[in-house]
Point group: D2
Chain length 295, copies 4
Amino acid sequence: MSQISLSDLNAASKVDFVSALANVVEYSPWIAEQLAGKRPFVGVNQLHTALMAVIQAAEPEVQLALIRAHPDLAGKTQRAAGLTAESTDEQNSAGLDRLSDAEYAAFERVNNAYRDKFGFPYIVCVRRHTKDSVLRDFETRLPNLVKTEIRRAIEEIGRISALRLDQLVVADDRLKVHGRLSTHVLDNHTGKPASGVAVELVELAKLGDSRVIARAVTNADGRTDQPLIGGRPLPIGRYELKFSVGQYFAERSVPMSDPPFLDEIPLRFAISEPEGHYHVPLLVTPWSYSTYRGS
Amino acid sequence: MSQISLSDLNAASKVDFVSALANVVEYSPWIAEQLAGKRPFVGVNQLHTALMAVIQAAEPEVQLALIRAHPDLAGKTQRAAGLTAESTDEQNSAGLDRLSDAEYAAFERVNNAYRDKFGFPYIVCVRRHTKDSVLRDFETRLPNLVKTEIRRAIEEIGRISALRLDQLVVADDRLKVHGRLSTHVLDNHTGKPASGVAVELVELAKLGDSRVIARAVTNADGRTDQPLIGGRPLPIGRYELKFSVGQYFAERSVPMSDPPFLDEIPLRFAISEPEGHYHVPLLVTPWSYSTYRGS
Amino acid sequence: MSQISLSDLNAASKVDFVSALANVVEYSPWIAEQLAGKRPFVGVNQLHTALMAVIQAAEPEVQLALIRAHPDLAGKTQRAAGLTAESTDEQNSAGLDRLSDAEYAAFERVNNAYRDKFGFPYIVCVRRHTKDSVLRDFETRLPNLVKTEIRRAIEEIGRISALRLDQLVVADDRLKVHGRLSTHVLDNHTGKPASGVAVELVELAKLGDSRVIARAVTNADGRTDQPLIGGRPLPIGRYELKFSVGQYFAERSVPMSDPPFLDEIPLRFAISEPEGHYHVPLLVTPWSYSTYRGS
Amino acid sequence: MSQISLSDLNAASKVDFVSALANVVEYSPWIAEQLAGKRPFVGVNQLHTALMAVIQAAEPEVQLALIRAHPDLAGKTQRAAGLTAESTDEQNSAGLDRLSDAEYAAFERVNNAYRDKFGFPYIVCVRRHTKDSVLRDFETRLPNLVKTEIRRAIEEIGRISALRLDQLVVADDRLKVHGRLSTHVLDNHTGKPASGVAVELVELAKLGDSRVIARAVTNADGRTDQPLIGGRPLPIGRYELKFSVGQYFAERSVPMSDPPFLDEIPLRFAISEPEGHYHVPLLVTPWSYSTYRGS
């Protein structure tokens, strides 16, 4: 997606402004039209707050129309017919483009059950989720009242639009839409950061296969050069970090048993705050280790 | 196997003595015959030491015959033809009765390669091993010299006979042939032993499927009532202990994230000393944990 | 104190029974007289429960007389005049025989303030306390109502008498009046118990000087042969355990910085449950350590 | 000390250059005179390397004169007579201006013994030391050969001059003469950084009194706003960090025993690398804690 500066947005003609924001909220140019009159915006946070205020102030039937303008999750027919580029990217980020037939069926059941009850599609900001957590979210929301789900749908539209604005608009301030997952390996045997440790991050799945989503080797400070996940929301879900400590200590000729007491160490944890910072360090000797949610 | 007391063995006629010890060393009554003359034994350790001395003192060709009297590991034909009851039990304990066709093929390759090189069967005390570690042991031993392997085979016969004596003979002393794997869960959130934590021990396998070999729930002291493995050698191999700490803290209404940061905690480790004591504790809060090789 | 078996107590004449229990409750033979009629006792717990029931059932003025029969804590004049042997031992155990003039003055202020308000001496089971915690207990209790303090005084008489019965009577059951403080040093550098580590236990004092109350060296299992405190209640108070780990690692030629990053490690903690089991282990490498309240 | 930029130094007249560097090496303008001819310097590291090369290249008697131009450590008479401002600051930084009479006597013994043996004063870069470590360094060096001590003295002059250059010269590069001591408190009870924890850093002394050298309160990230020691070398010595965790947990109404099991936690460690980064974190619950040398 090409980017535009906030000052250009502030200076643009109404037509250009509306066109620029066309895809921030799915098929709903009326929002951008109202926003145009509220310019200038001093920051992207103010812009997003104004956008949400426009939606909140709309008549109930207009809000409903907005909700109904959204596609079904993982809808086969809709994907064939074509989603907005934004929707496609977002759904793919949660792996919704890699569903097995059984998974498609599961999502279709979800969508249909939700539509049947509420009369509008189930909306969720998929960039904040894994396939597992989407299904869990659905199960939590299906028993809700209609008015609760209208509120929840607008909340999710708010999150989706914030992420889209974050990608689209260059401004001095940043929306708080990204999280970060990092690690750090401390070698308590020698009292130094452990460098050269192979690290693998696996997204665990109940639905379908677990998959490796990041691989790295620790640097001289025992950290990875890049966060394991960064520059995006952390998908809610279950993860496993794997550290090849047997190989690390073997390369340093540290006395170990054969096979080594500790070889590949798995740390299994869940992410529940997509915009949070998860620091999951490993303090390790050939005979012991610790981990904790750090900061 | 029915048991016999050491004092009865000491008092028995030579014929009865030899008959009682018939299966301690595979198809080799001459050993018991020589041992009969060395009675009385003050303990089972002395008996086993004498047994090993008889083997060590034998002529090379007698030693070779002893080695050749042993069956192939997991040999399909031999199992069909019938092993001694002791051999059958031992091989089953390492899962050699649950081999897939591919695994049979792997063991057959091993046996044949070994036989081809050394002219006698590959002998290993299987009760001290998992399938994985047997294959690894084979790979380590195949490059050896013949004289090294004769020494190693006799060593393994020593371990096999020690375990068989341990089961057969009731004496005041015990042979040091058993190991112990235990755990302990400390709840550092409340400063108390964690009781009621579901624990699962899995034997990890490269060859074939991993399998749960023990399940327990921690008691008031945070321990399991029985060792996770005890009363036998600890099979050399890789293991995973799984602790259901999410459920434990949820039942105590401890504030947690949703999904919980820590839910099922896996501790992955290897056992290399079958006669050792492995204590693998878990110190845990909803946000941190540690483990170490304890005692 | 010489001991007597519960069966002898059950079989004794009333006079002998009363004489044997003479000093279990300070200057109050009427209690033993009533207890004599409730024999036989199946255990020392039942005997103590009966003793407390006799006190609870007494008329208020009798209870008051019982309370008044107790000496002041650390009273100089009373010590000169002579306490019962039991009181002397107990007061000495908390260091009340080693008070500086300033400390005597502090205790005298406490005693007088308490006596002035309540009209009876401040009673506390000193074997469960350090000097610091006695003064703290006094401060907590001084604002209480009279009826609360009568209840508290009887509670403390119950604890004092339980400890005296525990020393006096030999029975099949034991009163739960002892605590235990233990430690365990695990060397996470080599994955073994740390043997040969010098350990020192210091009772920390606000009032007067801190003093070493136990010294030990860890055995082959990384533990001390005897509990650091055992066979008595754990005095409520603040403690420091000191472990000479620098020396331990130096003797094993483990590479360390100079001076060693960790040398003498202090673990500072408080005991609040005199009848509890406090296990305070140390998991240590030359560069890291952990401790926790264990079990 | 007023500062000067490297470019100004490069452009200065020889006289001004020598005057500017007058006090970088004690009473030895000949060094600056030689350096003047080697300009321009691209960085302060290159300048310092050149300075050391000038000293190394000097005749033995010139080197000896340079060494002899240095004052005695903590010399009473010399302090009365006046040291260079630099020497005074440096000696004060190690507390040499706060010596008791007994300590003065100890340093005088050291100085005299050293002078008697070697014929020149004992030189050490005191900013890298505590009083204790200076005396320990002296004891290590006194048995050395004269030629070893000439080399060591020049090494220390190198360290002293590097620190003086670091303060004097503004350049694009920095000399690696500073260390850093930092901490971090993680609350494993709630899975968050512990903010608001009072922290105290004590320099432990064998010689004279221990003294508090830093006080701080942890911020929202569980760290102190400033390093506990920074912007200078870390004095070699023994330290204790004290964390008021009892108060921290009490303020958050976390259930604890009374008195709290953990209240003020002391972490005792030594610094041996003045230019290193020592990160000494505390992972803590009301019932457990860990520390390690981090990075």
